[in-house]
Amino acid sequence: MIGVIFGVIVPYIAVAIFVVGVIYRFINWANSAVPLKIPTTGGQQKSLPFIKRTIYDRFDSPYTWWETVGRMILEIFMFRSLLKNTRYYLDRVSQKDARWLWLFAILFHYSLLLVLIRHSRFFLQPVPEFVEMLSEIEAFKGVFIPSVYVSGLAIVAGLFLLWLRRIFLSRERTLSLPSDHFALILLLAITISGNIMRYFFKADLEKVKELLMNLMVFDVGKAVAIADSIEPIFYVHFVLASFLLAYFPFSKLMHAGGVLFTPTRNMPNDNRARRHVNPWDSDPSVPILAKGITVGGKTFTSKKLDWDTYYSMYTDQLDEIAESDYKIAPEEL
């Protein structure tokens, strides 16, 4: 029974929530308009030909489509902005390097990536060559028996470092919400249970794979049959992971997809070469305030100061300027 609930029903629900949730979030973000082109320029703009730009400028203040893509790739795979991190101390002129945050983040995320890639062997038949190879390389095959996967331990270390930071650094402690701790605790629980299963209380991985393969082709009958024969320790890991999937779309973990949408990073700094059109103000010939804004059923309209209005308000002074033939010169003494 346990197997059926946790091995079949729960993962199906979790995956459904995950898929629908993530798609919903993406659509939701994409549906929101981008009124202005607002890249944060982190380097020299492209301007006159003799003003040289370094390679960093080209990625930090991208002008072309390619440079912008480069900036995004550096953000996603290198956490480039985080790599600039410093800490301010009140001795005022100095600023201390704080790239350890970057290091922890990289340690965690790349371990996560490796772990996920290794997990793909439960879902794919035949297992792709590079997955096998990667596993062998990172386990230093043959050095330890049974082989020890570095990423599996590194991810736990990375998570602990990130968590300790939230517990022991005063600023980060103040900022951390329960949900921030929760995400880390959940991930720790998953990764620790995974390691325990790997090194101490072994589960039958052949059966696990069979279960997953059947779940994937919706062969529910077979899945149910296998589910009950797998060791309980597997379900600890499996249920936690399912929970993570279901939790993912509603949490800050969505930053993983969000980073692709961020207008301060994914837009080129080419405002003066190519005009950006605001979808909700696509013909701005009359300012919105002059058309009037409606709040609570009342409309508030500002009078537009076009040239004719302006001229009628200050006719005398403007005529005086016209009389001097629009020229200003020092007063004759």
């Binding site: 308009a33 703009q45 985080l82 301060t264 005009r275 950006h276 508030f300 002074q317 016209a322 010169a329």
Partner: protein
């Protein structure tokens, strides 16, 4: 002028998360901006919702259904601005941005950390727009919208100068300036506007510039500048205003017409334009209608920004110019680089179109052939920064400069936030400065270029009543200035920004750093040899401040 605080004590506090969700009830002396009066926000030319009521922070006099209106405005914002929505959703509270904010550094107030500031509204977002917030309440970091929360939102929204420094360091580019800018817009929908900025917005909507200068006053100010230049150079110079058929429209921040040290930059512009006209025949005109480059609307809302910047392209079209040059100003260039051609239709006059088909100054004045702008600009925008323009003239050897005329200055350069992080104009001013003066020194690396620290008065925070906040916010910049003052004997802090030029003199006095403030175009004006008028390098006896250039030895 409000009293400057005698002593600054930075008390860092690290409350626990529950307290962070509770609105503060006590507002520090010197950090709370006044709320607008009806004459600013219920004016014929700038009518904001519920602007007809006089209110203060203790008695908000909100409209009856304010909560509904607030949430409605917030929902609209989430739909109208992807950045706002995304930034509500994806912050991981890693804290990388926390100590990047000069106001946090200067006040130690945890809600002045960029992420703390954003959380103030994010917590409301969670409560009303997310499932987890609705279910788990404060355990998901959500909180009710109450009048106290509105007070707090106002208090902290006006302790952010929209400098974007936090955005630079955030792994997802979360720009607290963007959040705050749209939050201010939401607050303005329930009748809360900040007085200082709306005074200027209203004036600019009514007269064309923030100072409320009428056409005669502006022409008079420029005329006085020409008279001073006659004393300095001995030549009869002139300029144009509202002139149809000029080649270029020049738009400066209105501070340049009156304030000091802005004034000396204004003299620099005038010298350059006279040399160009006399030597090459390029004509530049000012406009009384488009007399404001700065745009305080960009501190308030998209719509207010548009109301103010809508005049300029229209004026360019009316006068029939070929392109626009903009003066020295910070936020102005966020507006004139990133906003203006989205918020408005670019000019369609013949001269404009013809010029941008082949944007070579030689098309306007033969002698300037070779100076082109098409490597980065087009007729869909058409603005060139005065320092880009000057750099191009220098590179193509179109003007003659005598660096030694600036030998009495040892300068450092402050990058205005929005010029650096909203535009990327970083090397052009340095190129110009290296060509017009011999003694130029950089401040420490983490305080310049894209990492530049704010002057502490941007984004509408130049108000007198928040002097305490201003003097605290400027501290990181002042420490960097003191460093170069001690190390290299720097005696002038140059900045191409009108707000900086208003803030730094107070700040330098407060932090006891005995150096002057100026703008790069002042240095250009000093060094520029008016060859077309027959001036020789050694002829100039005075700098633009009227100081004799060749002081007696030992003075």
């Amino acid at each position: 002028m409000e009293e400057m605080p005698e002593k600054i004590e930075i008390r860092q506090r690290f409350p626990e998360w529950r307290e962070m969700l509770k609105p503060v009830k006590k507002f520090e002396e010197g950090r709370l901006s006044y709320i607008s009066l009806p004459k600013q926000v219920d004016s014929e030319f700038f009518k904001m919702p519920f602007g007809d009521v006089e209110r203060d922070l203790h008695d908000l006099k909100l409209p009856e259904n304010w909560k509904e209106l607030f949430l409605e405005a917030m929902k609209e914002t989430l739909e109208k601005n992807r950045a706002f929505k995304l930034f509500m959703d994806i912050c991981v509270r890693c804290g990388a941005c926390a100590d990047k904010c000069h106001y946090y550094i200067g006040t130690g107030d945890p809600k002045n950390m960029p992420v703390g500031r954003a959380e103030l509204i994010r917590s409301v977002y969670r409560r009303y727009f997310t499932l987890s917030g609705k279910i788990f309440g404060k355990w998901a970091g959500a909180r009710e919208l109450t009048e106290d929360v509105v007070r707090e939102l106002y208090y902290y929204a006006y302790q952010c100068s929209l400098c974007r420094r936090c955005s630079l360091f955030c792994p997802y580019g979360i720009d607290t300036a963007e959040i705050v800018w749209w939050l201010r817009r939401i607050l303005s929908r329930i009748g809360l506007n900040q007085r200082f900025m709306t005074i200027s917005i209203e004036a600019s909507a009514r007269t064309g510039n923030h100072l409320g200068l009428l056409p005669g006053g502006m022409a008079g100010a420029i005329q006085q500048g020409l008279e001073e230049l006659k004393d300095v150079t001995g030549f009869d110079l002139h300029t144009y205003i509202n002139k149809k058929g000029a080649d270029v429209l020049f738009v400066a921040p209105s501070g340049d017409y009156f304030a000091t040290p802005h004034w000396f930059v204004m003299l620099g512009y005038l010298l350059l334009f006279n040399e160009l006209e006399e030597k090459y025949g390029l004509t530049v005109t000012w406009s009384t209608y488009a007399s404001e480059g700065g745009n305080f609307g960009t501190f308030h809302s998209y719509e207010a920004a548009q109301l103010l910047n809508s005049k300029i392209y229209k004026e360019a079209e009316r006068l029939g110019v070929s392109f626009i040059i903009g003066g020295e100003c910070g936020h102005m260039w966020r507006d004139k680089h990133q906003f203006i051609n989205t918020m408005n239709n670019p000019p369609k006059n013949e001269e404009w179109k013809r010029f941008w088909e082949n944007p070579d100054l030689g098309e306007l004045a033969e002698g300037l052939r070779g100076v082109r702008f098409d490597s980065y600009a087009s007729g869909e925008h058409g603005w060139i920064h005065i320092l880009e323009f000057t750099a191009a003239l220098i590179e193509h050897k179109k003007i003659t400069l005598d660096k030694s005329r600036n030998d009495h200055w040892a300068a450092t350069y402050h990058d205005p936030c929005n010029v650096a992080r909203g535009m990327g104009l970083i090397e052009e001013p340095r190129y110009v400065l290296r060509n017009v003066m011999n003694k130029f020194y950089e401040m420490p690396e983490h305080t310049i270029k894209e990492k530049t620290y704010c002057c502490g008065a941007g984004g509408g925070l130049l108000a007198d009543e928040i002097m305490d906040l201003r003097m605290r916010g400027v501290m990181p910049r002042m420490m960097a200035a003191r460093h170069v003052y001690k190390k290299y004997g720097v005696n002038i802090l140059l900045t191409p920004c009108a707000i900086d030029k208003a803030q730094f003199p107070h700040a330098l006095e407060y932090w006891k750093i005995p150096i002057e403030v100026g703008g790069p175009m002042e240095m250009v004006g000093n060094a520029l040899v008016l060859t077309a008028f027959g001036e020789k390098p050694e002829d100039r006896q005075y700098d633009l401040r009227g100081e004799p250039l060749n002081k007696e030895e030992g003075e």
